[in-house]
């Protein structure tokens, strides 16, 4: 069947939304790539090679580590009879709620020369100085990779586990009947079948790694993101910052293409996923090894950092902190609520447009609008600055020309810029969540209202929106949480003296005073847990 609704206003507004969301990136790419070749030659001769090297090395290490952590834990949870399986199933998701920079700070605090671990060792063995013993240094590129991997591996865990659970169990049974042992059938059938999902997970991890700013900044590892930040805020050199951002953007584009290619392989999912998998019986030693592996991930990625935060909060909190927390918390809430609401409205409009409109190219606006997720926050901030800055100038000049007082930087210097950045960056999450909600509505329900004499608007209001309620809630919550956590875009774009929870925590981390913001950090983690809990609940209901 083809959809038959056709409305010019709907088409126009869909493309307009898509355009607003993509224009900043285009402006930046054009600006960056049309920058003088001198600039690129200069950058290439000075810093760019080492920045690129660091960025790529970091990405490589993180992907290798998350593949190991995420895929192994997913295989253990979905194919073996490990004890506490029901608990580990969701516990392994929790590290997602932990921002990497928090983990980085907490572990540095813990394992530094002055930290409790080394002090204890020195005390126990009577060592006097760093020359007496060797201890690993957290604040390195490898350290940053471990920190990022500890909180990013759940992406791979989640997607791989999902793929395993969606698999047609008859394929596994067939492989067993053809002579494979339970373990062989995992390796030869289940894992290869999960390959597209694993690839998607790995690309998500890659994108997050390329976008990371605070962790590498804190560890003084110079990557492209920190370079963009320093070039702009440190030297005020918009041209170079744009050029660097364009380079990073090109890297990200490759990842996006890889991700899209692997997504197209996700189709062969089963219609009979509900048959129970026969579990691999682990021997005692295997049981111990698997348990240690999984619990280590949960503890290092979530439980230990949270405990450290709580200890900090208990030791150092006071009333003054609470009032600061309240003010920044309200700022965070305000920005995130607005961004989440706008993103969901856009996602609904574009998603339903794709589903119900008769236009042949009806999927285009949503695709354009979803592109932002790939853009690292630093790059996006540069893009928005280079777009809104000139726009502001133009507005001021025209205002003066017509005899009004110049309004100042009403676009680039206000919350507008922050919210636009958040919406551009996280529209894809809302789009994806709403789209999968829409996909679950049988196609015939689009047609049934019309066959009963009910118009398009009424059918959207009475059928689609009520059915999408869970998806809408989920999409809103996901964007809300991501917006709460987002750091670099907020840091670069926020109006003067405007602090959010994440920007304040970043300042405190930079000043080595996280104790002052422990409560705020706990708050961010708690908000981050909300969608995970909800997601888990929904899964179990099904």
């Amino acid at each position: 069947m083809i959809a038959l609704y056709s409305s010019k206003t709907w088409t126009l507004s869909s493309y307009l939304i898509a355009l607003v969301l993509i224009v900043p990136v285009l402006v930046m790419l054009v600006g960056g790539l049309s920058a003088s070749t001198h600039l690129f030659v200069h950058l290439w001769q000075t810093v760019l090679p080492s920045y690129l090297e660091n960025t790529l090395l970091l990405a490589f290490f993180v992907v290798v580590l998350t593949l190991f952590f995420g895929v192994s834990s997913a295989v253990i949870i979905s194919t073996t009879d490990i004890v506490f399986k029901q608990q580990l199933r969701w516990l392994l998701l929790l590290p997602l709620a932990m921002p990497a920079y928090l983990v980085a700070y907490l572990y540095t605090d813990l394992f530094d020369y002055a930290g409790p671990v080394q002090r204890m060792l020195r005390h126990a063995f009577g060592w006097q100085s760093p020359n007496d013993y060797w201890f690993f240094d957290v604040r390195t590129l490898a350290g940053a990779a471990v920190m990022l991997a500890l909180v990013l591996f759940p992406y791979l865990y989640m997607l791989t586990r999902g793929a395993f659970e969606q698999q047609d169990q008859n394929l596994i049974r067939a492989s067993r009947l053809l002579g494979l042992t339970a373990k062989q059938s995992v390796l030869k059938v289940a894992l290869p079948l999960a390959r597209p999902a694993i690839a998607v997970g790995a690309s998500l991890v890659l994108m997050e790694t390329l976008a990371d700013f605070a962790t590498v900044q804190y560890f003084s590892v110079n990557t492209l993101t920190t370079a963009i930040y320093d070039t702009w805020l440190g030297y005020g050199d918009l041209g170079s910052a744009n050029a660097l951002a364009s380079v990073l953007m090109l890297l990200v584009l490759f990842v996006v293409l890889a991700e899209q290619r692997s997504r197209s392989g996700l189709r062969h999912q089963s219609a009979r996923p509900n048959v129970k998998r026969e579990l691999i019986q682990l021997s005692v030693s295997q049981q111990i090894m698997a348990s240690v592996f999984c619990w280590t991930l949960v503890i290092l990625g979530f439980l230990l950092p949270l405990t450290l935060l709580i200890i900090m909060a208990v030791q150092y909190s006071d009333m003054a902190q609470l009032s600061v927390l309240l003010a920044t918390g309200i700022n965070s809430l305000k920005v995130s609520v607005i961004a989440a609401t706008i993103a969901v409205l856009i996602a609904l409009s574009l998603g339903l447009y794709q589903r119900l409109h008769s236009d042949k190219y009806r999927h285009v606006p949503k695709q354009i609008a979803s592109f932002g997720y790939a853009i690292p926050g630093t790059v996006l901030a540069m893009a928005i600055l280079s777009t809104l800055g000139p726009l502001d100038h133009w507005l001021n000049e025209s205002a003066e020309l017509f005899g009004f007082t110049a309004p100042g930087l009403i676009l680039s210097g206000s919350l507008f810029a922050v919210i636009l950045a958040l919406v551009v960056r996280f529209a894809a999450i809302a789009n994806g969540t709403i789209a999968s909600g829409i996909k679950q509505i049988p196609q015939s329900l689009d047609y049934a209202p019309a066959s009963l004499g009910v118009s398009l608007t009424a059918s959207v209001a009475k059928v689609h929106l009520p059915l999408l309620k869970p998806a809408i809630l989920m999409a809103w919550l996901l964007v809300f949480v991501e917006a709460m956590k987002e750091l670099p875009a907020v840091l670069l774009l926020r109006p003067f003296n405007f602090e959010t929870l994440s920007s304040q925590i970043y300042q405190l981390i930079s000043d080595e005073m996280l104790e002052q913001g422990a409560l705020g950090a706990i708050l961010i983690v708690m908000f981050g847990l909300l969608p995970i809990v909800l997601l888990n609940k929904n899964k179990e209901k099904v």
Partner: protein
């Protein structure tokens, strides 16, 4: 009496693929039309075109003297007064049975709505389930809800897309009879799509056989059964088995004997096929000089009508490969063994010959 639904020269081309080509059809008020054809023959597209979900490339559709669509204009689906029962029923999962049935009734006053719903629920034996959700109902009950919902806005035409495909085979016949009685009682004009010819024989007043976007034959089921107009129709409906014959002057020569050809219009082709129904075959197990063995048992199955055999021609019975027959279907109470040779003869009747091409 003018027809309620008239379809003229209907053509639909999607992405340069012809789905329907120059289709003509008309249906009187109160008639139930069964649309059969292999999957992919365009029958669902035809339903969608009538409902307003597919754009026409050519032709026109008129319902009750109102032009619904031609190649330039199209009445929106919600204004057509055409109801539809979807293959998956498309019940709104977030609404109760009663709310589903009331969905298309917003244009009436609340009291009228209430009456109408009450009436339909009673008629379709759904009163006890009014507050249930679709997923709490059995397949048959869900279908009844879909019917009640479609009938509530009093459509002029009801479309049913493979309505019985999700129903347990044992219940299917019973349900078909029940729904047919209901439609007749309301004097509803309906078109239903199926790939199962038996459903048409049970359910429909008119039958349309489609293949590759074309209408092959359109008549009452009994007429089509007796007088299929082409090899394709008879073959798709499995009205009998095929016995190849060679044309020789006024005679059709087959391995089972010669038949006199009454008309001469099939003489231009050399090879024709005789449609043989099981009841037109006479089986002789005793093979002797009068009854020379001319077939052997190829396949045996047991049915409620006795043994069902497929016969095929004897090896080396002819040098002309085209004359060889197989899968000649026959029923008998006598038990035969596989490869047993028998003698079989075609009773004299109004022979139906078809040539295979077109």
């Amino acid at each position: 009496m003018t027809a309620l639904l008239t379809i003229q020269q209907l053509s639909i081309t999607l992405q340069e693929k012809v789905i329907l080509s120059s289709l003509d059809l008309s249906l009187d008020e109160g008639d139930i039309l069964g649309l059969v054809g292999a999957s992919g023959c365009g029958k669902t597209t035809l339903l969608n075109a009538i409902a307003g979900f597919s754009q026409l490339s050519n032709g026109r559709i008129v319902l009750d003297d109102r032009l619904l669509s031609d190649n330039c204009q199209s009445v929106p689906a919600e204004q057509r007064q055409v109801g539809m029962i979807f293959q998956d029923y498309a019940l709104f999962p977030h609404l109760t049975v009663q709310e589903n049935v009331a969905f298309g009734l917003s244009k009436q006053s609340k009291i009228e709505q209430g009456k109408q719903i009450e009436h339909l629920l009673l008629l379709l034996k759904l009163t006890d389930y009014r507050d249930n959700y679709a997923h709490q109902l059995s397949g048959g009950q869900q279908q009844r809800v879909a019917i009640a919902r479609a009938l509530a806005p009093k459509p002029k035409l009801l479309l049913l897309d493979e309505p019985f495909s999700n129903i347990d085979a044992r219940l299917r016949n019973e349900l078909m009879v029940e729904i047919r009685q209901l439609l007749k009682r309301f004097n509803i004009t309906a078109i239903f799509v199926t790939h199962n010819k038996d459903e048409v024989f049970t359910f429909a007043d008119k039958m349309a056989v489609m293949a590759e976007g074309k209408l092959l034959q359109f008549d009452s089921p009994s007429l089509i059964c007796q007088q299929p107009n082409s090899y394709q129709v008879a073959d798709f409906l499995q009205l009998g088995s095929w016995l190849p014959c060679r044309v020789n002057a006024n005679c059709a020569v087959s391995l089972l004997g010669d038949f006199v050809l009454e008309s001469n219009d099939s003489q231009q082709t050399h090879l024709i096929h005789l449609l043989v129904k099981p009841s037109q075959l006479v089986l002789n197990v005793e093979v002797n000089e009068d009854n020379i063995a001319n077939a052997q048992v190829d396949y045996i199955s047991v049915t409620e009508q006795g043994y069902h055999y497929y016969l095929r021609s004897l090896d080396n019975s002819t040098t002309d490969e085209r004359m060889v027959f197989s899968k000649l279907s026959i029923y008998s109470d006598i038990a035969l063994a596989l490869t047993q040779r028998v003698s079989v003869r075609v009773k004299a009747h109004d022979y139906l010959f078809f040539s295979q091409a077109n």
